[in-house]
Amino acid sequence: MSSTAGSTLTREEADLSEQQRAAANRPYQVVVWNDPVNLMSYVAWVFRSYFGHSKEKAKKLMLQVHHEGRAVVATGPREQAERDVTAMHNYGLQATVEEAE
């Protein structure tokens, strides 16, 4: 694919890169999962300080994780979502990235 430098880009290749661009721009979401160790106060604090969520939204998401087992805490481009998941892991939260519905 990279050997075409300097040559004429074919229609198929143009279409493909268009598709790839679309794929890269598809939104992804950060999911935080419930676990019995992380404290409610800690989880709420992480949501507020890291994502900048309001006190109310952070509490709502924290309770959603607690009661429903999981919650979508952020949505965005794939790279950003992956960075957020790694940050959640650094805080000790269970988190995964997935394609947004």
């Binding site: 800690y42 507020r48 300080s49 900048g52 309001s54 992956e82 790694t86 892991h89 995964t96 990235v97």
Partner: protein, 220 residues
């Protein structure tokens, strides 16, 4: 007797007994050792330095992978699936909890792990080292910048103890707290349960104090 974290004009302050500070510091050191062992296992000697990784990145560009590599690193990583195997999760229950999968799909998780686990390990080791430094002083005083770092480190210690104690449900956690409440730890598990309860209390008081002084912000 230890006194919990509270917000003071000098920062978040806790009065801990010398043996308590030493114990927590030692637990931090144990977690550091675990993370470093994992690093040796998966990185080997070749990828021991970041510099090597940078050159690797650069060589791939030179090898004809083209500017697209930089433009769309993620896509390139996916194209490389065949060339570069993903990284398998740790088998040890503590490491598996400290370095969890970043996706539900096992293959995708292995690919993400190859890209991010090393930096995650380094961040955690750095946090734990900062916590150990803070535990050298009496009383323990944390600035606004140090408090979250200390909190993350203590949380990793709690996750480590929880994994060793087999805490998987809320009921398990409750049982551990009940064991700890009895005092007079005679077995390793009882001692770990007491440490778990103690670090939980420490973390709870720290973050309650931090939430109290946290300014209300608008949603991003």
């Amino acid at each position: 007797m230890a006194r919990a974290f509270r917000a003071t004009t000098r920062g978040y302050k806790a009065d801990l007994e010398t043996h308590e500070r030493r114990l927590i510091s030692q637990l931090c050191a144990d977690v550091i050792t675990l993370l470093q062992q994992r690093g040796k296992e998966v990185d080997g000697d070749t990828a021991a330095t970041d510099q090597q990784d940078e050159f690797d990145h650069f060589r791939r560009e030179l090898a004809g992978l083209g500017a697209q590599y930089l433009e769309n690193e993620q896509e390139q990583a996916e194209n490389d699936d065949d060339a570069q195997p993903g990284l398998e999760p740790p088998t040890d229950e503590v490491l598996a909890r400290l370095l969890p999968d970043a996706a539900e799909d096992a293959d995708e998780a292995a690919q993400l792990r190859r890209l991010s686990e090393s930096s995650l390990r380094e961040s955690k080791i750095s946090d734990l080292q900062t916590a150990r430094m803070a535990l050298e002083s009496d009383p323990v005083i944390l600035t606004e910048e140090q408090a979250p770092v200390f909190g993350r480190a203590i949380n990793d210690v709690r996750l480590t103890l929880a994994a060793r104690l087999g805490i998987e449900t809320e009921d398990d956690a409750e049982k551990v707290h009940n064991i700890a409440g009895q005092g007079k730890a005679a077995t390793t598990d009882e001692f770990m349960a007491e440490l778990y309860a103690f670090t939980t209390w420490l973390q709870e008081t720290l973050f309650s104090a931090m939430l109290d002084v946290m300014p209300e912000e608008q949603d991003r």
